[in-house]
Amino acid sequence: MSNLPRGWSRRAILKGGAALGAAGVAGLPMIGSAFGQDNLLHFWQFYAPGGDVKTQVDWFMKMADDWNKQSETKVQLDYVVNNDYMNGTKLSTAFASGQGPDIFIISPGDFLRYYNGGVLLDLTPYISAEAQADFPEGVIASRKVDNKIYGIPMELEPMAFYYSIKAFEDAKLNENDVPKTWDEMLELGKKLTTADRYGLLFETQPGYYQNFTWYPFMWQGGGEFQGADGKSAFDSPAVVAALKLWQDAINSGAAPRQVNSGGWDVVANLGAGYCAMQNVGIWGISAMDNNAKDVPYGIFKLPTPKDGKYVTVGGGWAFVANAKGKNPEAAGKFIAWALASMDKDSIQREVDWCTVAKSDMPTRTSALQQGADAFNKGKLGIFSKDILPGVRAEPRLPPEVYKIISDAIQQTQLGGADPQATATAASQQLDAFLATYKGAPMM
């Protein structure tokens, strides 16, 4: 006896199922064609429309709306969760299957991977000579190959130190006591360390971000990972000193082996009272102002080694277009219109991103002038006056080089390895890789 409802039969259900399946299969090409419309550009990023910072969502939405009002080719914002965008599989699998977005954003750390993969569009033809000159060479260089521009940076994010004013006051210190040398920094770190607080905090998790934050300490003593001869320069006293600095911070007990959330998160660490001084970037201003309003804090530039030179690193993301996308030309035009036109709106867009949506330094000279009032006051003013002059662009490295440097940092900082032996071993690995590397130049 059948348990089926009256009027139903097994055969009818099977027929219906088969019909539905066939309809689904028949509909697949239509889904593909909908995704593949030439007049709709997909812009993947981790800000809008699903982001949780309203000012950033608004900025992206307004940009897309403004473009869509005046162009036949429309831009659709596709939000990808931050962690999935940076460390997940979404972008990689999309490109691997030929379904990469038309427009997306990348950091310098990822530039060579995409450039060497042949998917970055040359944006130079869409940008006027005047606009090209508006980007300081130090900012745009890491997005250029053979003098052609492959990415337009939307922000410049220099690294600095943030400190807790309360922790300083509790230790009878004030803003005049901020450390200026590495030795002073380590001493102060120890002095500010208590039973439930660390004096100093560097990133401890392996990754692109940790490398990014370590580079300026290497540069300050004159260190480089590659010499002018194209060979490794990693086995140098400056590199060893930078590795040892981070190791000493851990061994002295002034810095933690683990950070809360991530070393980039100033609220979860400095804001939560986990540390008294934190190595973090300019984005920390808006993070603290929005999420740790009650925590008074100050900012100072990176201390230098004895006889060293002040240098910091400036990161930041860039708009790039997929050269293998559906309509690369329209994507190139959009990026140029959005961030690299001499039009007043384009410049103001950059100012708004850096002062309203986020707290960043602009990547254009004109934006720095147009938004001078905002950039020169308050905490942003500390960055533009004290910190920015020593900024050096985040290097672009292939993943293999990034990993060698990452391992060297980790082994010395947390593994207790000898800095000199580690630098020597890493240098040998670098030389072995550089001998076979065929991609665009590293910087």
């Binding site: 460390n87 490109f95 691997a96 998790q205 392996p206 007990g253 082996r257 391992d407 947390l414 593994g415």
Partner: protein
Amino acid sequence: MSIHPAQRLEQAAAAARPSRRGLSARHREWLAGYLFVAPDFIGLLVFVGLPMILALVIGFFDVNGFGAFQFVGLANYQRMLADPLFWQCLRVTAIYVVLLVPALYVVGLGLALLVQRTGRFNSVMRSMFFAPQMVSLVVIAVVWQLMSSDKVGIVARLFSSLGLGGVSILGNPALALYTVVFITIWFLMGFYMLIFLGGLQDIPREYYEASEIDGASKLAQFRHITFPLLRPTSFFVLLVSLVAAVAGSQAFDLIYVMTKGGPANSTQVMIIYIYQQAFQYSAFGYAAAMASILVVILLALTGVLFVLTRGGRFEHE
């Protein structure tokens, strides 16, 4: 409802007769069986079998993740041999497996023995042991990360109260892997407890009653009744925990969220390294070659397990 003998005869005759489409009842039954199995079989073939074969093939190519394929023969395998990090990851994976599989077996069985008797208290305890399974692994990882935070985390404070201040259980390369193993055991123990409980319930009570009459101690009962009769369950637990330890989601999710393979690669198990090579470094060919080797290792270990335990069969089978 009873069936008249005449009707029964009619039905039997109909079953033996070929249908109007030319299939006998037995063939139709046979066909129906395969049709019901077909969706699972096709799913496994498309989503497991085919990717495995493709991964094996991709291992012989240089694949940059942007559409470029270049046949490189055994180059990816040669690179593997010369890659110190590959060997380091293999070593970390081996330690992880050696610690995790026996520990899960012992803890799972131990908990099952503790709570096997019915009763309200044991029901509550079973629920508590199983509770971690109800929470997402990512949430588990984040919570443990907070609890393990240096100085201010609950674990650090506990150590500090024991005179072990300054211990960083996730930030010290000498401790991080053991911490991950501990958390994994805590997470999975309820699941294996449940499997063992099922196995324990299959053992006839008469055996225990007879042994009690003979004066057997609890330990003797365990040695001579419980443990031998749990053989099929033990095999299943060892097999599943072995696969989980080598390639399970907890091996990836927990480590990825808590340590990202650090500190100093001390928790970098093979699947984390494979993931990084494929999705962060775009070295899909190299990642596929490593994945193929991992599958071979897993097959070899499973084979050894089959031989050692006779596939969970009893001596008389």
